[in-house]
């Protein structure tokens, strides 16, 4: 249990930046999730914390101690590998005892701790099994017990749930989270599963191309995405692109003048959350923006309906409406009105994002 600080941590492979200037401050007992598309440097960052990848620049501090140059075995981190990496020749009990043994904990004390750790994951009855005699979910929990048994300063999880089936993934997610809270252990988890990230994290870090794009709570990321990429990656959005025209107003590519809640200048992109866009037969009153448009596509999701509305040849928004009355839903080709409140989710156009 300790605070974890990364300061401008970078890793270069030749000219390629696997991680660049990653700075994070993880409080004691906090559950931080690194989220991002494949290849964005999540594993690299995690492995720099564990000591398996040597950073080209920057520092790692655990509990205030600079561990940047220490080898993995002197860092006291508990890493759960994606493939679990249980020692195949050792029993469950011996696997869990390994970390304690390395710390020269006396036999009797170690035995008690092994049992405790296995009880935490409800596998104490399998203590004498070999890893190959366990199911995937059980192996995963043994790996967790092994990483927790010696009470590491920081728990590191690299996509710990990706090898489990959907049902189990949901259960283990809750299990890991409650365990982490009960033990109050500082945790960094890597995932590219958004839902997993949102349900487990105290705070999330969105990464792209090796760099941190935004750090914040679920609400921060959803309500106030820092840029076009985050707005696109976290949750769903439809985008309007155009140019800023005066204070808090954007002129879209299709010529609409849209009001927003942020001032900037130059080419810009506006992100609209589908559930914040209202649809009606009449112009929408009480909203900052309201435009007529033609229904282009209706996607029936059950309790919710997606309605794609074209406002101009260049502009299209998606509205998500509750399925109160399916008979009243607009059909493709209908003319409807859409409206939404001025949003702060407007960003300078990002050259490497499609509009």
């Amino acid at each position: 249990m300790a605070r974890l600080e990364l300061d401008r941590l970078s890793k270069r492979y030749g000219d390629f930046h696997a991680a660049r200037d990653v700075s994070l401050d993880v409080a004691e007992g906090e559950f931080l999730v690194l989220l991002g598309p494949s290849g964005c440097g999540k594993t690299t960052t995690l492995r720099m914390i564990a000591g398996f990848v040597e950073p080209t620049a920057g520092t790692v501090k655990i509990g205030g101690r600079d561990v940047t140059t220490l080898p993995p075995w002197k860092r006291n981190t508990g890493l759960v590998f994606q493939n679990y990496a249980l020692f195949p020749h050792l029993t469950v009990g011996q696997n869990v005892a390994f970390g304690l043994e390395m710390r020269k904990v006396a036999k009797a004390e170690a035995d008690a701790k092994v049992l405790d750790a296995l009880k935490l994951v409800q596998l104490d009855h399998l203590i004498d099994r070999l890893p190959r005699q366990l199911s995937g979910g059980q192996q995963q929990r043994v790996a967790l017990a092994r990483a927790l048994a010696f009470r590491p300063d920081v728990l590191l999880l690299d996509e710990p749930l990706s090898n489990l089936d959907a049902k189990l993934r949901h259960d283990v997610r809750v299990e890991i989270r409650s365990l982490q809270q009960r033990l109050g252990i500082t945790t960094v988890m890597v995932t590219h599963d958004q839902e997993e990230a949102l349900t487990m994290a105290d705070r999330l870090v969105v990464m792209r191309d090796g760099a941190v794009r935004q750090i914040g709570s679920q609400k921060d990321l959803y309500e106030r995405p820092a840029d076009h990429f985050v707005a696109d990656f976290v949750g769903r959005s439809s985008f309007l692109s155009g140019t800023m025209a005066g204070d808090a107003e954007m002129k879209t590519a299709g010529g609409l003048t849209v009001r927003c809640a942020k001032s900037l200048s130059g080419p810009a992109v506006m992100a609209l959350r589908p559930e914040r866009v209202y649809v009606g037969r009449e112009p929408i009153s009480g909203q900052d923006n309201t435009f007529p448009g033609e229904v282009e596509f209706v996607s029936y999701l059950g309790s919710l309906i997606d309605i794609h509305v074209r406002l101009s040849p260049q502009d299209r928004v998606i509205a998500q409406v509750p399925n109160h009355d399916s008979a009243a839903l607009p059909a493709v080709g209908d003319t409807v009105h859409v409206g939404w409140a001025a949003t702060p989710a407007v960003f300078p156009a990002d050259s490497d994002m499609r509009a």
């Binding site: 398996f52 993995p72 075995w73 890493l79 020692f87 020749h89 970390g99 390395m102």
Partner: protein
């Protein structure tokens, strides 16, 4: 070839499943190959019990006399002891060379890695006579230049046999390493084990089947070698294959058959014992 990381073992086909013709063909082919390999062994075993001195068909009776002769022959006993000593020593020395060599070849990327890899295979490809002669010439040179005479010495013999042992070991240990999951090593280091402890506690157990199988095959290669030894043995100090050859030069009674059978039994027992500890079928 698979390493120790493979955990499932191929169990026999589930009963109730009908074998398809392809399966039968495969089984038949395996049986033919098996018989082909076994036939000479069966005949030599049969021959070793013939009662007449000059082997001829049909046998006139059966006896255990030749086994008595084989075990009672001091030349054979001495040669057996020499062969065993050379085999064990060469295997131990080979291990000291092969283990680091395999680790380096499997894990490091260095200039000339491919060349070293092939060089270590050489003794398997070069005919034993050529290898033996080459070592002989080298030892002559060494004796002349440095006045260090290893010619016809026990040391020279062991030296030659190390060359026979190492390629087997390197192959089999590298096969084990290829199947070894390196995240296990990272897991150990993460749990607090330094490099040495990690090697001892995690890597070694993982590649043990390869080490044991490599030692086994290396020893057998050394124990049965004739051509290389011909150049390296000294007077009054021959290996078992050479003793058998020498005996054959003036006598062809079934004693030779008996000693061959004994040799086969010793190797088979060693294989079976090894197999109890590590499943050889997993490595080779």
């Amino acid at each position: 070839m698979t390493g120790a990381a493979v955990t499932h073992t191929g169990k026999a086909a589930r009963p109730g499943f009908r074998l398809r013709p392809g399966r039968w063909a495969l089984k038949a082919a395996a049986l033919v190959a098996f018989i082909y390999i076994l036939t000479p062994l069966i005949f030599i075993t049969w021959l070793s019990f013939y009662s007449q001195e000059i082997p001829s068909y049909p046998p006139q009776g059966y006896t255990l006399r030749w086994y008595g002769q084989a075990i009672g022959n001091q030349r054979f006993i001495d040669a057996f002891v020499i062969s065993a000593q050379v085999g064990i020593l060469a295997t131990l020395i080979g291990l000291v060379i092969a283990l680091p060599a395999s680790l380096g070849l499997a894990r490091l990327r260095f200039f000339g890695r491919g060349a070293v890899n092939n060089l270590l295979l050489m003794p398997l490809i070069v005919p034993g006579i050529v290898l033996g002669f080459a070592i002989y010439v080298m030892l002559v040179e060494v004796a002349i230049r440095f006045e260090w005479n290893m010619l016809n010495s026990f040391g020279g013999l062991v030296f030659g046999h190390v060359l026979l042992v190492v390629p087997w070991m390197v192959r089999l240990i590298m096969a084990s390493l290829a199947g070894f999951d390196r995240t296990l090593e990272e897991a150990a280091m993460n749990l607090g084990a330094n490099r040495l402890t990690t090697f001892r506690r995690v890597t070694m157990p993982g590649i043990l089947p390869g080490i044991v199988a490599g030692s086994m095959f290396g020893f057998v290669a050394s124990f049965g070698n004739l051509e290389l030894s011909l150049f390296l043995v000294g007077p009054g100090r021959t290996t078992l294959p050479i003793a058998i050859l020498q005996y054959l030069q003036w006598k062809i009674d079934p004693t030779i058959a008996a000693i061959s059978v004994l040799q086969i039994i010793i190797i088979a027992v060693a294989m079976l014992i090894t197999d109890r500890f590590v499943k050889l079928s997993r490595v080779v």
